[in-house]
């Protein structure tokens, strides 16, 4: 998945209840079964998982297939409820120091590993250190650098030992993290698997083999029973999980089916209760046949086209604006995608928590007006039908990207734009985009934590995924300022201003806001429809009769 780069937000007092306060919640991570629901006698669930996980080791996982499974197997200090709100996980409460840099977590007395051993603060210390240890070389080490955990960056760089990381076990059940700078959403970030604990003794005993079914020890609602690479992962209920009494599902099987059509066939044949995706070309017929089984959730992500500002004539803002205006976004969402995607006129999607993206000026115009403006701008920039702008549109090989690209190139035609479509295999495409070997490229960005900076930081000058090399001093300053302001309102204003700058400079053309669509059988209860980060915990689900 797309990940944000170094966001270094500083100090916000109100995002979370901070300042020396104990937070104790009664909400539990569990399936909420409405009264009167008749549960099936066999509580077994089969979920499509898209692909084989890269790993089941929390500090080695990369990609969605692995993170979905690890979130069933392990649990961090906090976790999320069905709507994505923070609720206590392994920690029953936590306190934050006055300067918002020291976070102290009280681990539950009944938090246990699946082998019956207690979950200790030292397991967290061990896990946090592994995440930054160059010897383990975690792809997600940057996730420990974002909240500025003391010495994290120096350890990743090999300048300091992992033991110097700002984490401590005060006693068996008290874990403390110290940050260099205050980070308003640090607690929120703990829902990510990179910050999950691992059983120190087991990892040390078995080394790289510790995640095998015969060795693994977990602290989540489930534990691993069987694992056949490219076929299945079978998880069984963990009787030692602290809230096991409220788990309903006894067994969950994940199938790493890469082909969407194969997944659909197996769903139709009754071998799957939940798919991972819905093939675009089948969506219409499914909508007719089984509309009630299609579950669509807004997602924290935006599909966009990036302009390469290093290449002429895309350094000309008029060209970028014209190309962006001429994209008929609702035609794409309504006639091509048709799964409930929302036209995007800002980079931050509406699904984000605590921020409503502003209505940018061009979003208020009708498409006809936008088209007219686009033609005028193009003409002013010196291009029209007699002197067409020839551009190359790069996308990664896929039917749906192709459909969107064809539609957009047709929309650009009246401007006198001649588009050459170029598709490349995934990794080749990523390489081309990263090295700036493109004029206009398809891109998508999915946020890692539910906060606008996860999106907006991408357009800052130094961001690793700012592929078009957009650079605006004003924008950079705004984003830097957003990290130091103290009130939510003020920060939201800055974010809104940042969006206005993007709409003005148009370094990227947002196209649509992503949604997650999957098929879920009618007998599956508890499926979350509001978790914009697509965290579907099996412990929250149940099978109806």
């Amino acid at each position: 998945m797309k990940k944000p780069f170094k966001a270094l937000p500083i100090a916000s007092m109100s995002l979370l209840a901070i300042a020396t306060s104990a937070i104790i919640s009664t909400t539990a991570s569990a399936a909420i079964v409405p009264e009167g629901t008749k549960l099936a006698s066999v509580q077994e669930l089969v979920r499509g998982n898209g692909a084989e996980p890269a790993s089941l080791d929390p500090q080695k996982v990369e990609g969605t297939p692995g993170s979905t499974v690890t979130k069933d197997l392990f649990e961090g200090l906090i976790t999320q409820d069905a709507d994505g709100n923070v609720i206590p996980g392994q920690a029953e409460s936590w306190t934050v120091s006055d300067d918002n840099k020291v976070f102290t977590f009280k681990i539950r007395d009944n938090a246990k590993w699946s082998n019956g051993e207690p979950v200790k603060a030292s397991d967290f210390v061990f896990a946090f250190r592994r995440a930054v240890d160059p010897a383990l070389a975690s792809r997600y080490a940057w996730y420990m650098e974002i909240p500025t955990i003391i010495n994290a960056t120096d350890i990743v760089n090999g300048k300091m030992k992992p033991e110097t990381l700002g984490v401590k076990a005060l006693d068996d059940k008290t874990f403390q993290v110290t940050l260099e700078k205050p980070v308003p959403y640090f607690v929120k970030m703990l829902a990510h698997q990179t910050m999950f604990p691992v059983p120190e003794a087991v990892v040390k005993k078995f080394g790289d083999d510790w995640t095998r079914p015969e060795n693994i020890v977990t602290n989540g609602a489930f534990t691993l029973k069987d694992w056949v690479v490219n076929e299945k992962l079978v998880l069984e209920r963990n009787a030692n999980y602290w809230n096991d009494k409220e788990t309903v599902i006894d067994k969950v099987t994940y199938l790493p089916i890469t082909s969407q059509t194969a997944e659909l066939s197996r769903y139709k044949a009754g071998e799957l209760d939940m798919t991972n995706e819905i093939p675009l070309e089948h969506y219409k017929s499914l909508k007719k046949q089984i509309p009630e089984q299609i579950k669509t959730t807004p997602q924290l992500g935006t599909y966009y086209y990036a302009f390469n500002l290093q290449e002429k004539p895309f350094d000309d803002v008029r060209i970028r604006q014209a190309l962006s205006y001429a994209i008929n976004r609702s035609a794409i969402t309504d006639y091509i995608l048709k799964q409930g995607q929302i036209p995007a006129y800002t980079f931050t999607p509406q699904a984000v928590a605590g921020f409503t993206p502003p209505a940018t000026e061009y979003s208020k115009l009708s498409q006809k007006e936008r088209d007219q403006k686009a033609r005028d701008l193009m003409k002013a920039a010196g291009f029209d039908k007699s002197n067409p702008l020839k551009l190359n549109l790069l996308y990664n090989t896929s039917e749906s990207h192709k459909k969107v690209a064809i539609a957009i190139s047709q929309m650009w035609k009246p401007l006198g734009v001649q588009v050459t479509l170029e598709n490349q295999e995934w990794k080749t495409f990523l390489d081309s985009r990263d090295e700036g070997k493109f004029q206009v490229a398809r891109a998508g960005w999915i946020g890692d934590y539910n906060e606008p900076s996860t999106m907006l930081d991408l357009n800052t000058t130094t961001h690793g995924n700012n592929d078009g090399k957009y650079s605006s001093k004003r924008y950079d300053q705004l984003m830097a300022k957003s990290r130091v302001v103290t009130s939510d309102e003020e920060r939201a204003k800055l974010y809104a201003e940042a969006e206005e700058i993007l709409a003005e400079d148009m370094p990227i053309a947002p196209v649509y806001q992503y949604v997650t669509s999957r098929l879920v059988k009618n007998h599956v209860g508890g499926y979350p429809l509001n978790n914009v980060e697509d965290n579907v915990f099996t412990r929250d689900l149940y099978i109806k009769q």
Binding site: L56, D209, E231, A269, E425, W426
Partner: protein
């Protein structure tokens, strides 16, 4: 001094390998010794000769794959999130990718000598050896069953069609085999799933379940149909040609029953073109078809091969290339030996 002649070519030229092909250089050779007596080169010498060629062949294969793989754009660590340089450096150091290419190659060869194919770059909890150990048996099982099925049915159908030439039996077999040939497996396999799993719900649509027979029927059939169709067609034409040859006419004149003529005299020579066709196909069948494995969700080698290439999982792709390369060399040799055993013209001098 012995003068060696190339072996006789297959009976029909349909699917035959041309005599000029290098494949024939190492076939069991018919030699004429100084006294003018036919004799064959001993099996042992033949085997040694094959092995001597196999090792450099494999080496070149490894060398080429190693460098070609590295030349592909992107790396195992390319993702849509561009990694910060320090993390990329740690990853490269862990897998020795920070060393010069020749040094990486020497590392690889060193490990290979000890039978270690290295860690997978993508599946971080597994080594390539483990992935192969898990996936090869699956591909092998499906492939072997499909192969046996192909040979028995294909040969029987082809023979029947030849015996009843231009009758309805012939036409039916030929029509079906034509369908089998023109429809690719990515059409046949999902079609079978649609009919037998989704609509009729007789069989599972996918999965392996430790080789449960119900899970094997559809993939094995989908795989076999393609080869079966070709085998039936080759068998038919080769059988027709054999039945028209002089020695069969002699057998008929001697009044031998048809069953004996077919089974004892016609079958063996008629099988030669089938063997030339199936020999090279065999390794492909047993090392897994990516289409079949993807459609049926089978944990075989085919999926690893394609995903490995897409993920730039250098060690996985190299490991599989070596295994498939070695198997190809091995089975080409076995086919050559079989060829010698089955072709009476080659066994002169005994």
């Amino acid at each position: 001094m012995a003068v060696c002649l190339p072996p006789q070519g297959p009976v029909t030229g349909l699917e035959a390998i041309p005599l000029s092909s290098p494949l024939h250089w190492f076939k069991l050779q018919v030699c004429i010794n100084r006294e003018g007596i036919h004799q064959t080169v001993p099996m042992f010498a033949f085997t040694i000769k094959r092995l001597a060629v196999a090792i450099p062949t494999l080496f070149i294969l490894i060398l080429l794959s190693f460098f070609l793989m590295q030349m592909a754009p992107g790396s195992p660590f390319t993702g849509d999130f561009n990694l910060p340089p320090e993390i990329l450096a740690n990853l490269q150091a862990k897998y020795h990718l920070d060393k010069p290419l020749w040094q990486q190659f020497m590392y690889y060869l060193g490990d290979l000598m000890q039978g270690d194919l290295g860690p997978s770059f993508k599946y971080k909890d597994y080594t390539v050896n483990e992935l192969v150990a898990q996936s090869l048996p699956v591909s092998l099982t499906i492939g072997s069953v499909a192969f046996i099925f192909t040979v028995i049915t294909g040969v029987t159908l082809g023979t029947l069609a030849a015996l009843k030439q231009n009758s309805w039996v012939d036409y039916t077999v030929m029509t079906f085999s034509m369908i089998g040939i023109v429809l690719p497996s990515f059409v046949i396999a999902p079609l079978m799933v649609l009919i037998f799993a989704v609509t009729l719900q007789w069989l599972p649509a996918g999965g392996w379940n430790d080789g449960n027979w119900a899970n094997m029927i559809l993939p094995v059939s989908a795989m076999a149909i393609l080869y079966m169709a070709s085998v039936a067609r080759i068998m038919r034409s080769s059988m027709i040609e054999t039945l028209n040859s002089n020695f069969i006419r002699t057998a008929k004149a001697k009044g031998l029953p048809q069953r004996v003529i077919i089974l004892r005299h016609a079958l063996k020579p008629a099988l030669l073109p089938v063997i030339s066709y199936l020999g090279p196909a065999f390794v492909g069948i047993i090392t897994g078809s990516v289409v079949i494995e993807t459609v049926f969700g089978l944990p075989g080698m085919g999926q690893h091969f394609v995903n490995g290439a897409l993920n730039r999982d250098y060690s996985l792709v190299l490991g599989l290339t070596i295994i498939i390369g070695a198997l190809t060399i091995l089975f080409t040799a076995i086919v050559d030996i079989l060829y010698g055993l089955i072709d009476p013209k080659i066994r002169v001098g005994k």
